[in-house]
Each structure stands twice: as structure tokens, then as C-alpha cells.
């Protein structure tokens, strides 16, 4: 008898748990470049709105976008615009993606700090990442093999960097890291390492240095910490339709003065 009661109790709790209540949870998923920033923004937002709850998941821009398409998230963080086939897929599923820009990011190119390379053009960078230049001596440096570090194809940074700099397929020898911070860690340890990371990741890193980049041969070399850096991009958040209620108030918090201060604190750039 006691056992039966126990089972009934379990079942009741279980069924109670099953009732899907109108959720006060905002689900956010996507870009690893944005995940830490958005988590800080969420912390700031919830201090003011303790009743609301925000769940943040990383995985890459592609992960967020496909979750939005499959209605598995409320906001998709993306460090790139949606691809046409993704937009088509979204339409088929009755999703209407609207993008909001809530910050700016500059993609820094980092190398091990023992290397004597200080600046590169985007064209040379492309050659390096396409695997056409494989040794630092071709760049006027020491005789040392170039070890490429990058992200997996789930990453918006992977696609952004490919479209703007590589303009071709990445060399298959590129090591594909799960998270951007792994690139920082690896380049720090690898004397021949080169990698691309969102500027937020430079904040606390030692043992690596950023390279000045020029748009082409005739343009000036600019550090990612200065204005006019050629590898600047927008940080997007996609919602299904215009954001409403809780989601809208979170996004307007992000764009508020306080939200943008957090953006700057995390090493990104506020939207003007």
C-alpha cells in the first residue's frame, strides 16, 4: 500500500511538472562571440526585473538561427546576417526573423607574442587562411610553420571571416576550435599560432598580440583598438517578428545607456 501511495505521489508531481505554463523564461541561443556579453546583459536586466528569467545558451550563430527556425528559442544571437536559404527555411516554418543590432565587434587577428609580425593586409590574411602561405618566412618573419586556428562552421565568426577576408574555402589544416577562448589559449601556447577572435577576448589575454590590418596595399594599417579597423561587424539578435512584451523590454534594456555600458565593459563597441 505504501508503495502504491509513493508511486501515486511521484506521478502527481510528474504530471504537475508536465503542465506547460505560460513561460516567463526568455530563451536566448546562439553566437559564442555574444554569449558571454548577453549573459552579463541578462544578469543586469534581471537585477531590475527579478520576476523574469533568461536562459542563455551558446553553440554558435548557426545553432541559434536553426533554433529560431525550429521555434526552439526566443532570441537567436548571431554575429552574422542570416543566409538566404535560412530565411527561406524560416518562411516555410512560419517564422519571420527580425534583426536588432545591439553592439559592434571587431575581429582581431592574434598571434603568439614571440612572433615578429606586426601587420598584414586582408589579402595576405586570405592567403594565409586559404593555405597558400604556410610559413612565416614568406611574410618576412622567422622560418616557422604557420599553424592556423579558427572556429567550426557553427560559428558566425567562421562565416564572417571567410566572406570578408578568406574569400574562399579555409585550408583544411585549420584547427577548428569549439570556442573562441580556446583559440586564445592555443595561440598563447603555440609559437607558430595565428587565430581570429572577437575583440572582447583581448581583454584579459597575455602571451598573444593583435595584428594591425589594412584593407589593401594602399590603405593604412590599423589596430583593432582604433577607429576605422577594417574587420568590424555588427552583433545581431534575431527574434520571430517584432519583439514584444518581455523580449522587447530585454532588448530595449540592451540598447539603453546602461546596457550599452555593459557592452563597452565587456570589450565590445556600443551602437552609435
Amino acid at each position: 500500500m505504501r508503495k502504491t501511495l509513493l508511486w501515486v505521489a511521484c506521478l502527481t508531481i510528474f504530471i504537475a511538472g508536465c503542465t506547460r505554463k505560460e513561460s516567463s523564461v526568455i530563451r536566448i541561443k546562439g553566437s559564442d562571440t555574444e554569449v558571454n556579453l548577453v549573459q552579463r546583459l541578462a544578469e543586469g536586466f534581471m537585477e531590475k526585473n527579478p520576476k523574469l528569467s533568461i536562459a542563455v545558451t551558446g553553440g554558435g550563430s548557426g545553432v541559434g538561427i536553426s533554433a529560431l527556425i525550429n521555434s526552439e528559442t526566443d532570441i537567436a544571437n548571431s554575429s552574422r546576417l542570416m543566409k538566404e536559404e535560412e530565411l527561406k527555411k524560416a518562411k516555410e516554418n512560419g517564422i519571420n526573423p527580425i534583426a536588432t543590432v545591439f553592439g559592434l565587434d571587431r575581429l582581431a587577428i592574434i598571434i603568439n607574442s614571440s612572433l615578429m609580425i606586426g601587420s598584414l593586409t586582408i589579402e595576405t590574411l586570405g592567403k594565409i587562411y586559404r593555405g597558400e602561405i604556410t610559413n612565416y618566412k614568406e611574410l618576412g618573419g622567422a622560418d616557422l610553420a604557420i599553424i592556423l586556428y579558427g572556429r567550426t562552421s557553427a560559428s558566425g565568426t567562421y562565416l564572417y571571416f571567410r566572406e570578408t577576408a578568406v574569400k574562399g574555402d579555409y585550408s583544411p589544416n585549420m584547427k577548428q576550435m569549439i570556442g573562441t577562448s580556446q583559440i586564445v589559449e592555443a595561440v598563447k601556447r603555440d609559437p607558430g599560432g595565428i587565430g581570429y577572435v572577437g575583440i572582447g577576448y583581448l581583454k584579459s589575454a597575455e602571451g598573444i598580440k593583435e595584428i594591425k590590418i589594412a584593407k589593401d596595399k594602399d590603405s593604412p594599417y590599423i589596430s583593432p583598438l582604433e577607429k576605422g579597423y577594417p574587420l568590424e561587424r555588427k552583433l545581431y539578435q534575431y527574434t520571430n517578428g517584432e519583439p514584444s512584451s518581455n523580449i522587447a523590454s530585454f532588448i530595449s534594456f540592451e540598447l539603453s545607456e546602461e546596457g550599452q555600458r555593459i557592452v563597452a565593459e565587456e570589450g565590445f563597441y556600443p551602437v552609435q
Binding site: 511538472g17 523564461v25 558571454n36 552579463r40 541578462a42 544578469e43 536562459a55 577562448s181
Partner: protein, 280 residues
Amino acid sequence: MKKIKEWFGFFLLKASAILILGIVVLLLLFIGIQGAKVINLEFLFSFPKEGMTSGGIFPAVFGTVALTLITTFFSIPFGIGAAIYLSEYAKEGRLVSFIRASIRNLAGVPSIVYGLFGVALFVQSLNLGASILASGLTLGLLTLPWVIAVSEEAIKSVPKSFREGALALGATKWQTTRLVLRYATPGILTGAILGLSRAAGETAPILFTGVCFWLPKLPGSIFDQFMALPYHLYILSTQHYDLEKVRPIAFGTAFVLVSFVFGLNLIALIIRTRLRKDYG
């Protein structure tokens, strides 16, 4: 000459054994020493703060405990049911040996394949979404073959005389089985707990079925996403923006995860030894 060879041969064997012991001790000490530095009640019972660089890991602990409970909820009834059938009811034949072969092979299916299956079936087709329920179901399937195997062994270890005695007294098959079950309970429990400890440490099957990078609140229903210890360790060691800074927390998480798994194993061990004493 022959003696030297003899001595050297056994020396090599002994050295291998010592090497393995060394590896295990090194692993445990490495995680234990670094992890113990950050473990305290606050670490266990507070939320991560300031972009996970400080604070605790409570939601991950809670998520893992809740997930293992949900896993049990699904794998135990099915597992024990199957074990009872195989040991008490089944007549050996083609069908039964096919069932057994299926169970053995299920135990060998890679966990990431269960993850794929879980995504396609629970998250998408059954539309449960990425949730603690979908993850629990996926892990339930994964642990099923283990629960069946250990439970069946436990039931089989009950002496035959029990059954014969009960049947002779005119009990029905089911009444007899219930009697047998009562004596096999500790063994079945051991199996269940071992299955749980396996579920608690798995990462690959939950990656896409509901685990989450960061949650400010505990999951309120089984349709919510959750944080879990193994996944937390995974992101703290590969994806956080400041890997050096969160390394102590990663060690702490590893320590809690390993202790949790061993805690479950220890409970199973205690039950097993007590069982041996009782029937030994």
C-alpha cells in the same frame, strides 16, 4: 638465465599494474587537490556570478540531480520489467535470444548516437523541444541496457528454492515473482544506481536535447532547459571567454561531478556488500 626471464616477465606485469594504479591516483589527486580548494557550501549552493567568473554551480548541481531522477523514472520500470520477463517468464528460444542480443548491442551504441536519436525523436518529432524531459528520456534509453543487465543478474541470484517453495504453496506466477523481487531488491537497486551514475556523467546525449549554457533560475517544469555538471565543465574548459580565470571553478565542477558519480557508485557498493552478507 631462466630465472631472470621469469623475474623480468612478472616484473613487467607488476609494473603495468602499478602504472594503471598511478594513472588512477594521479587523475583523482589532480582533480581532487585543485578542486578541493574552491569547494565549500557557498560554491555548491549559489548561482554563477559575473559571467561565471565567480559564484557557485548550484544550477548545474540541481540540473544533474533532477536529470538523473527523470532518467530513473523512465529507465527503472522498463528495465526491471524486462529483467523480470527475461529471468522469470521467458522460455529460451529464438525470440528471447534476439531480445538479449538487442540489449547487449544497445549497451555498445555510442552515446552521441543516442543524442542523435534523442534530437530526432524527442526534440523534433514528439515536439518536446530542448528540455530536461527530452534529455531525461534520451538518457533513460541509454541506461536501459545497463539496468536490465544488472537487475536480471540480481533476480537470477535469488535461490531457485524460493520459487519452488512458493509455487508449491499454490502461489501464482506473479505472486511468486513478487516474492522473488522482494529478495532481489537490493541487487536491483544496485543496478539502478549504477545506471544513474552513468547517466549523471554523460555529456554527448544532452548536448542538443536541452542542456543550457547559463540559467538565472532553476528549471520550473520538465519542459524547461537546464544546466548540468558535465556540460558546465565542458564549457568552462573550452568556451568561456576567460579560460584561465574560470579554471579554479572548472576544477571545482570536475571535483563535484566525479564525487557525485563516485558517491552513487559507493552507495551501490555498500548495498551490494550488505546483500552479500545477508545471503552470502
